[in-house]
């Protein structure tokens, strides 16, 4: 009787924390792999509309982004408040689209150049005028695969 009690009372086994770093590392690697560092700031205000027939864009490297919306408040003094287009990290004109797309394709291997998708992130409250112009420009540039970025409708 007393033999057993003595032994247990003396050294209480603590919870082993030696596997804690491993668990944390696993979480760490998960977040490291899913993290996409935000490249460049978005200078136009965009709230994407919602839709139900959505397609997921799988390969990030094959997507060129086109942002359209009203300039953010801090840029309105120089750019005005009319909807503008942003390519890469700067405000651009319609004529810049072709060059922008070509620049993106330059980095890709030959067999993937036809798979490029233009993802248009457009604010839901602007009018179609500028969007139609961009669409025409994309057609002229031969960039026919277009994705209108949208949220899932509930």
């Amino acid at each position: 009787m007393s033999k057993f009690e003595k032994k247990r009372g003396k050294n209480t086994p603590g919870i082993s924390t030696s596997s804690l770093p491993d668990i944390i590392f696993m979480l760490l690697f998960f977040f490291m792999t899913v993290t996409v560092m935000r490249t460049g700031e978005i200078k136009v205000a965009i709230t994407t509309p919602s839709a139900s027939e959505l397609t997921k864009l799988e390969q990030k490297s094959l997507v060129s982004f086109i942002y359209v919306g009203r300039p953010q408040v801090q840029y309105q003094s120089e750019m005005g408040s009319a909807p503008r287009m942003q390519l890469g990290d700067k405000f651009s004109e319609l004529s810049d689209i072709r060059f922008f797309l070509e620049k993106h394709k330059l980095k890709l291997p030959e067999n993937q150049k036809a798979k490029v998708i233009a993802s248009m992130k457009i604010d839901k409250d602007i009018t179609m005028g500028i969007v139609s112009d961009i669409k025409d420009e994309l057609r002229k540039a031969g960039q026919l695969k277009v994705n209108y970025s949208a949220k899932r409708k509930n």
Binding site: T55, T127, K140, G142
Partner: protein
């Protein structure tokens, strides 16, 4: 001698207790900077550019499902005003034409959707209309897939999908926008 050897053994162990803290710090950093990339949207294939205006007049009127969206975001579907809630069912009925009416498409293969908007139309309304038209086609394809293969369209293999897309092709033409309404300034 015995004492010395025990000290040696102690010194040789690397203290791994702070490892967790370091990992935590990194973890928190990545947690904060992560924006899980959610890039979804309505995928569209634009028609190739051609300078001449397409000649819609050639087509039989019964095969054309024309949708006009004006600057007030109102819809005119085949000459009739329509709330957007009815667009999907109307489009489906038009494409399939179950009652074989004279006024609707001869067959799904010949049906053409013609979408035209104003430069003053709001973008969300345009996308809503596009989404409804796409949804109509997706539903029809799904129904056909269920009938023929007893499975959803998304679960079919490539040949079966091709077959159904062939039967119900999405032909959507977008005419040049009108410019009656006012654009954003």
């Amino acid at each position: 001698m015995a004492r010395k050897s025990s000290r040696d053994r102690l010194n040789n162990e690397v203290n791994a207790g702070s490892m967790a803290d370091i990992a935590f710090l990194l973890l928190i950093f990545f947690l904060v900077t992560t924006t899980i990339a959610e890039d979804k949207g309505v995928l569209v294939l634009l028609p190739p550019w051609s300078p001449e205006v397409p000649d819609i007049v050639r087509l039989k009127e019964r095969n054309v499902f024309s949708v006009l969206v004006n600057a007030n975001d109102q819809l005119l579907v085949r000459g009739q005003e329509m709330p957007i809630g009815q667009l999907r069912t109307t489009a489906k009925e038009f494409i399939i034409n179950p009652l074989k009416r004279e006024t609707m498409s001869e067959s799904p293969k010949k049906a053409i959707v013609s979408l035209r908007n104003d430069r003053g139309t709001h973008y969300f309304r345009y996308l809503e209309v596009y989404n409804e038209l796409k949804a109509a086609y997706n539903e029809l394809r799904n129904e056909r897939a269920q009938q023929q293969f007893g499975r959803f369209f998304d679960d079919l293999d490539q040949d079966q999908r091709k077959m159904i897309v062939n039967e119900i092709p999405l032909i959507l033409s977008e005419a040049e926008s009108t410019s009656f309404g006012e654009e954003d300034k």
